[in-house]
């Protein structure tokens, strides 16, 4: 009887541990899906936190007339328009999985920011500029 009670305790604890571990994994995944970064020429132009975001279209313009229009809403992002020759970025559709949306001709990348990229961006960003 005493041994059985012990087993039960182990099972309860195991269930708790497994469920919290699962919750943790889900949680961490969601965190990394929280912020989208738009890059041109490898430079992070802007970040968008999806939690509570109003749908918007973000325009990326290059020096030689390159143009990409990124649509961002609470579900994620997609390339709405691009004046590149192949339009692969537009055909990519929604930003899903870990596959970034890449417009090779215009050198534009739309991707989820990893926790490390996000903290580096936050640390170096300025909140205001004195004129």
């Amino acid at each position: 009887m005493k041994k059985r009670k012990h087993t039960l305790e182990i099972i309860i604890a195991a269930v708790f541990l497994i469920s919290s571990a699962t919750a943790l994994v889900i949680h961490l995944n969601r965190e990394s899906r929280g912020v989208i970064g738009v890059y041109r020429d490898g430079v992070l132009l802007s970040t968008f936190t999806l939690d509570g975001i109003e749908p918007l279209d973000y325009e990326v313009v290059g020096e030689n007339g390159e143009m990409n229009l990124v649509h961002i809403d609470s579900d994620g992002a997609r390339m709405l328009l691009a004046n590149c020759p192949d339009k692969l970025c537009v055909l990519h559709g929604k930003l899903a999985g870990n596959e970034p949306i890449i417009c090779l001709p215009n050198r534009v990348v739309v991707k989820w920011l990893s926790a490390a990229e996000l903290s580096a961006e936050t640390a170096s960003r300025t909140d205001a500029t004195l004129p």
């Binding site: 305790e9 182990i10 309860i12 604890a13 708790f16 541990l17 919290s20 571990a21 919750a23 943790l24 949680h27 929280g34 936190t49 939690d51 509570g52 975001i53 936050t122 640390a123 960003r125 300025t126 909140d127 205001a128 500029t129 004195l130 004129p131």
Partner: protein, 305 residues
């Protein structure tokens, strides 16, 4: 039992993680007091952020209107006069609200720029009086104080940053608890910045001759007038940034210390280091920062102590 406790601890940890979600701030951009103003609110305890933002915009627009109509309420006027006087006293009289007619003669504020004759300036300087004063040199700073004291500040955990035409008012800190990062413009190359200040719960204001000026017959005249001469100040400084608790005082001090120049500005700082801190940029590009500030730059700078 121990294991159960461990499991519960895990759950508690998870709950605390998810409270960290950084939300997009509520932002407003509006035009008042001849300048673009921006407001970024991350949190206001016990209030709706959008509502708080609207309140701040209404507050500033009302103050701007009152000042323009010379209709400011006695309380606002008294408070502005109090800070203007403090700035006057701290800058050997170089920040002076009675300079209004001289500044008008140059066309600053009206946009009708001209170089007044020397005797005209002397006459205007001699006839200065308390009936013709202009709170323009302190109004934006005062507006940021109002926004902070009436709406945005007051409670720990509040987090917002306002930029009222170069009068930055940092309430609390960033939502992650780290200080706000505010860049200082390079006055010699206004496309770029020359360093970053880390600020918590304070105001920061920059005055520089590059901000408003006009050129006539090859000479550039800027808007910071030396009360001793009536002409634009030539102190060797290109810009002065003042960091202090009160926006109105920072606003007035940055103007007055610009007129006085580096040496006197640092002397005054040494006597009042509990009140404010400075970033001084000279016309030759030399950068001096007082030791109360947390400042980073990719160029060399001197720390005054």
């Amino acid at each position: 039992m121990k294991r159960l406790l461990t499991a519960l601890l895990c759950i508690l940890l998870l709950a605390s993680c998810s409270a960290n979600n950084a939300k997009n701030p509520v932002t407003r951009e509006f035009f008042a007091m001849d300048t673009v103003m921006t407001l970024t609110i991350y949190s206001v305890r016990g209030a709706d952020r959008a509502q708080a933002a609207d309140e701040v915009v209404a507050l500033v627009e009302q103050l701007a209107e009152d000042i323009l109509d010379k209709n400011a309420t006695t309380a606002d006027e008294e408070e502005m006069m109090r800070w203007a006087t403090e700035a006057y006293n701290l800058t050997d009289g170089m920040f002076d609200v009675t300079l209004a007619p001289v500044i008008r003669a140059w066309g600053f504020g009206t946009g009708e720029y001209r170089v007044p004759a020397a005797d005209e300036l002397q006459a205007l300087l001699a006839s200065r009086n308390k009936d013709d004063i202009d709170y323009g040199g302190i109004a934006k700073g005062y507006a940021s104080d109002l926004a902070s004291s009436r709406v945005l500040g007051g409670q720990s955990g509040n987090s917002s940053i306002a930029d009222f035409g170069g009068n930055v008012c940092a309430v609390g800190s960033r939502p992650d608890g780290k200080p706000w990062r505010v860049a200082v413009r390079d006055p010699l190359n206004t496309e770029s910045t020359c360093g970053t200040l880390e600020l918590t719960n304070c105001a920061a204001v920059t005055s520089g001759g590059y901000q408003r000026n006009f050129t006539q017959d090859g000479v550039t005249y800027h808007h910071i007038i030396d009360p001793r001469t009536g002409y634009p100040a030539q102190s060797g400084l290109a810009s002065v940034t003042v960091v202090c608790e009160t926006g109105a005082l920072a606003d007035g001090l940055s103007t007055g210390l610009f007129v006085l120049g580096k040496e006197r500005a640092l002397e005054i700082w040494r006597e009042n280091r509990d009140k404010f801190d400075l970033v001084l940029i000279e016309e030759n590009g030399a950068l001096t920062v007082t030791d109360g500030l947390s400042f980073t730059s990719d160029r060399a700078f001197e720390v005054a102590s």
